[in-house]
């Protein structure tokens, strides 16, 4: 009964033209959507106060700020606790109080990285000849992840790492595909940048080198292997070399970041002695814990489908063998994180699995771009099941968004990464503004308090203030009007020194909080107190 049917016809050519238009403008559209989502997410988390929930986010911002402001500003403030690139990228904006205290100085790096990573997922899929639908779906999988959206709204380093690593692997794959010299230069450059963000990058450099080496040795012979590998590692390894050099120059020990008192290893040793590092030496538990983190960060179904995707990709004879080889680099974060847990270089707590808290669960997001790429490939490969795959993925994502399910927010808010320092910082804000005098505090233990107090960085004497720090520890009553420290805890460097100093008797405890106590110099001794920066420019 034709009268009961309304029909709308479109010429195949017109459809092809529309598709071509999208193909031509896809990059701009993808970047526009990623940018809009990025800005919206930042505003959302800024307004609900979660943007700075991670203590580490506040510490990152303080490190950047100390480079431009403080009793001893300068590049040396970049320190050795974390690799320097995220803080270096904050320097152009961190001078602004708004950019510092809103967290935007760090978030803007994460947001740009989010857009870049999303776009790289698109480009990567194009590189392995996935159609427009698969490419857009891949970007969607990466973008529609509340954990990624939260992390890109904070001053954390994850997104910058993802951007640099994904760029590195993208250009590495390009080189494996076309063998253009420029691609391997770009690959080593971006991998080098990733080595300056987190140690995950160092492992990627290792994996990439093995892949480049194996490929050239098998395909081209020893001479080409030797030349290519040296060429690749020269640029790729320069970041690592500079980091050793930095540690040697600033801390007089090239391995200071490994063995120093603020190193991750030191932290892990303390955890181990307290029996809180069960993953060390236990490969099964390490794998299980990381798997939980990975699945929690990507909603279980998506990594499962991603696994199917990677298996099909690695077995796909239509994709050039060398390209498939390069794709193995996408799995480097998985191997690195499990290895780091087994070797005791990393710590990760999953509530209910190891302990009753969250810690570093965000590490599970390290495979987000890889999974997105595998998912994009999967819908291309299993075309007839496309609707089922997209439907089930959307189904799960609907519940993730509807219930605001972001394990990274729990990690930041209720896990070990979080401390409610507002009581201490509020006290400082209320009782030190308008009064003269420095505050002696260990930034290694209480950086979040420094940030949250809203006070000028120049008010604080901390480990990075050179002569002020040394003088403050030797004669606290001459330099510090207030001391913030965790009493009876020798891990707090201020307590360790000051509590054994006779000058400490001149202080009285004015407030005691769960995370720190506040001491104030008795008014009788204020006359001998230094309240001005007197050391001038220190080296």
């Amino acid at each position: 009964m034709p009268s009961f049917i309304l029909s709308f016809s479109i010429q195949r050519q017109t459809l092809a033209n529309i598709q071509n238009w999208f193909e031509r403008h896809a990059s701009a559209l993808i970047i526009f959507v990623l940018t809009a989502v990025s800005v919206f997410s930042f505003v959302y988390y800024y307004l609900n106060g979660l943007g700075l929930a991670y203590n580490d986010a506040r510490s990152h911002l303080d490190i950047g700020r100390r480079v431009v402001e403080g009793l001893k500003p300068g590049l040396a403030q970049l320190g050795s606790v974390w690799l320097p690139l995220p803080h270096v990228l904050m320097i152009p904006t961190i001078w602004s109080d708004f950019m510092w205290h809103s967290g935007l100085s760090g978030s803007i790096v994460s947001m740009l990285s989010f857009v870049v990573t999303g776009y790289l997922v698109f480009l990567f899929l194009k590189k392995i000849e996935v159609g427009l639908f698969g490419r857009i779906f891949g970007v969607f999988v990466f973008m529609a992840n509340t954990n990624i959206l939260y992390l890109q709204s904070t001053a954390m380093t994850e997104l910058l790492l993802l951007a640099t690593m994904t760029a590195g692997v993208y250009y590495l794959t390009s080189w494996f595909k076309d063998e253009k010299i420029l691609d391997i230069i770009k690959a080593s450059f971006f991998i080098m940048l990733s080595t300056l963000v987190r140690y995950d990058g160092w492992f990627l450099l290792f994996v990439a080198s093995v892949l480049v080496g194996t490929y050239t040795l098998v395909k081209k012979g020893f001479k080409v292997f030797e030349g290519t590998l040296i060429f690749f590692l020269t640029l790729g390894g320069v970041g690592i070399a500079l980091w050793f050099l930095w540690n040697l120059i600033i801390f007089k020990d090239p391995f200071y970041f490994v063995f120093g008192p603020f190193s991750a290893r030191y932290q892990q040793l303390q955890l181990e002695s307290a029996g809180n590092l069960p993953t060390k030496g236990n490969i099964f538990l390490s794998f299980q814990i990381y798997l939980y983190a990975l699945f929690y960060n990507s909603y279980t179904l998506i990594p499962i489908l991603g696994l199917v995707g990677v298996v099909l990709l690695l077995l796909d004879k239509k994709v050039k063998g060398s390209v498939r080889l390069a794709c193995i680099a996408l799995l480097a974060p998985l191997v690195f994180n499990v290895l780091a847990l087994v070797l005791g270089h990393s710590v990760l707590f999953i509530q209910g699995i190891s302990g009753n808290t969250w810690f570093n669960v965000r590490y599970g997001s390290m495979l987000a771009p890889s999974i997105a790429i595998f998912m994009g490939y999967l819908v291309q490969r299993l075309k007839s099941l496309r609707i089922v795959i997209v439907g089930l993925t959307s189904f799960v994502l609907f519940f993730a968004f509807a219930n605001f399910d972001a394990v990274t927010i729990d990690d930041a808010r209720v896990g070990s990464s979080q401390k409610n320092v507002s009581e201490v910082s509020d006290w400082l804000k209320e009782n030190t503004i308008g009064k003269q005098g420095f505050i002696l505090i260990s930034a290694a233990s209480h950086d979040a308090i420094i940030f949250s107090s809203g006070l000028s960085m120049k008010r604080f004497i901390h480990e990075g203030t050179g002569a002020y720090w040394e003088s403050g520890l030797a004669s606290p009553d001459r330099w510090a009007r207030w001391i913030v420290m965790r009493s009876h805890d020798d891990n707090d460097l201020v307590w360790k020194s000051v509590s054994r100093n006779s000058g400490f008797e001149k202080y009285r405890l004015v407030e005691s909080y769960p995370f720190a106590d506040i001491y104030e110099l008795d008014e009788a001794f204020l006359s001998t107190l230094n309240t001005k920066p007197v050391f001038g420019k220190q080296k």
């Binding site: 309304l6 029909s7 699945f295 929690y296 279980t300 099941l385 439907g391 189904f395 399910d405």
Partner: protein, 517 residues
């Protein structure tokens, strides 16, 4: 004629086994007997989902009310709702409404509870018929289709929920009937029924909204078909297809009416009502916070103490643990309770090659069932036998199983493995059906051991223990057979009958296939 005889024998066998297994005790429950342990813990209404649904049927018939009187409310605890000063059901009302005829007929024979339960048994038989018909329509061998249907009915936990008062077999019926209608008839006509069934499923179980989404989307494709004609792509909108939506008015009206008379608000969902946890000495309701206060504990706000949201029950973070429990664990896992259903995996690719569109629909149903309930907060399904939430998935897998059996019907090695798995799965699930669904999750069993001071099983060993204590909840056994056989002997008779019939079918299928080749 042969077809009629075969169909009759199939139906008769299914009905015979279900009658032997149907749980119940004689007599019509009254206010006085409702709260006795013979009917509750030790009887057929052993768990709150059965009690909540039976209580609503009871109230509608006996009290002419959708609200509960105090004795009925006490019977329903701990899954009791409280709205505007009245006790109401926390369960979706569909099953209670559907079992009304069974209750009335049963009451006439002085067995109202048995009559109510028998309605679910009828749905289970219909499900077996539908699995068989769908599989045949998709090209499966008739014997393979019958075998797959029997596997679904007696070789999966669907069996244990076909002899009591749960929603799962009704949900499966609505799902399979929708699929069958879409498969059997092309065009718009079946849509008039499909929309009715899809929306009607919400009255049976609210999560069916998500479970039935693939069917809705597939059916929608018939309203807006896209044609590829040479150089032109044509999108059609079938006006009659749009008109077919009118049938949803029937279930929607029923839904709104039932909720209006139950909760005073047509849009109030049962699961979101505030729940009563106990009663005080004066018969007044005690809520969670009252219980905590009485125990001297701090009252912490939870979803239960405030507004509950429908989608708040589904959390992606449950998925990993939940999938383990549903698929692998010995508490509820498919691997332990119905490994035979996994043979269906082999059928997926064969069906996909023949009917990619329909296979996509079946896979989408499978996926939405598994992943929806993988997100569900209580992924054990409370005290339960096997993974009851995956019963729709077992039905879909049975269809794939029929295809796999068709493809491998000449492979003796495959059939031997299939027979072994069938024997195991039927034995386990008959054990569940004839005994109890009161199997605690491991976490509760461990806590229970501290109280009881004895080993508390959390696998089907608990059912075995129950059976070895010479107990069965089968109505026939308790009313007639216990004078002649022990409970274990009764179990052996029922399970061996099923295995014997299925073994015969497997052998017949193999011999026939060899003869044909």
């Amino acid at each position: 004629m042969k077809k009629i005889i075969v169909n009759f024998l199939f139906l008769a066998f299914c009905a015979f086994v279900l009658i032997l297994s149907l749980r119940g005790i004689g007599g019509n429950p009254t206010y006085e007997t409702l709260n006795s342990s013979d009917l509750k813990e030790e009887g057929p209404l052993e768990l709150s989902p059965e009690r909540g649904r039976f209580a609503l049927t009871y109230s509608i018939i006996e009290d002419k009310s959708f609200q509960f009187s105090l004795p009925v409310a006490k019977f329903v605890i701990p899954d009791l709702g409280y709205q505007d000063g009245r006790y109401v059901s926390l369960f979706d009302p569909g099953v209670s409404l559907l079992t009304i005829p069974g209750y009335i007929i049963g009451k006439y024979f002085d067995a109202s509870q048995v009559g109510s339960f028998a309605i679910i048994g009828l749905f289970a038989i219909a499900n077996a018929l539908l699995v068989r018909s769908i599989a045949k329509k998709l090209g499966a061998n008739p014997i393979a289709s019958s075998l797959a249907a029997l596997i679904f009915l007696f070789g999966t936990p669907a069996f244990a929920y076909a002899v009591t008062l749960y929603q799962h077999n009704v949900t499966v019926f609505l799902m399979l009937l929708s699929v069958y209608l879409l498969l059997k008839w092309k065009g718009i006509l079946p849509l008039f029924f499909v929309w009715f069934l899809v929306v009607g499923s919400l009255i049976v179980d609210y999560p069916n909204f998500f479970l039935f989404l693939p069917i809705g989307l597939y059916a929608l494709g018939r309203v807006f078909p896209i044609e590829d004609i040479g150089n032109t792509i044509r999108l059609n909108i079938k006006i009659l297809g749009l008109v077919s939506f009118v049938t949803i008015l029937i279930p929607v009206s029923l839904f709104l009416w039932v909720h209006k008379v139950s909760y005073g608000n047509p849009l109030q969902l049962a699961g979101n009502v505030r729940s009563v946890k106990d009663f005080d000495e004066n018969g007044n309701p005690l809520f969670r916070e009252d219980i905590l206060r009485r125990a001297g504990q701090e009252v912490v706000e939870t979803p239960d103490s405030g507004d509950k949201t429908s989608i708040g029950f589904f959390k992606t973070r449950n998925m990993l643990s939940s999938l383990y429990i549903h698929l692998i664990s010995n508490e509820r896992g498919v691997l332990w309770f119905t490994p035979v259903i996994l043979v269906g995996i082999f059928g997926i690719s064969y069906l996909y090659k023949k009917r990619p569109g329909f296979t996509s629909l079946l896979l989408a149903l499978l996926g939405s069932n598994v992943f929806l309930y993988a997100m569900w907060g209580d992924f054990w399904g409370g005290w339960a036998f096997g993974s009851r939430y995956l019963i729709p998935a077992y039905a879909v897998m049975s269809i794939f199983l029929a295809i796999a059996l068709t493809e491998f019907k000449r492979k003796i090695f495959f059939l031997i493995i299939f027979l072994v798995l069938t024997t195991y799965s039927v034995s386990v699930n008959t054990l569940g059906a004839l005994t109890t669904n009161r199997v605690p999750p491991k976490v509760e069993a461990v806590a229970l051991e501290k109280v009881s001071g004895r080993k508390e099983h959390y696998t089907y060993l608990r059912n075995w223990e129950f059976l070895m204590a010479n107990k069965s909840k089968s109505f026939i056994y308790q009313t007639f057979a216990n004078d002649y056989v022990t409970a274990p002997q009764y179990y052996y008779i029922v399970s061996c009958s099923i295995i014997f019939v299925m073994s015969g079918q497997i052998a017949y299928m193999y011999l026939k296939a060899r003869k044909e080749s």
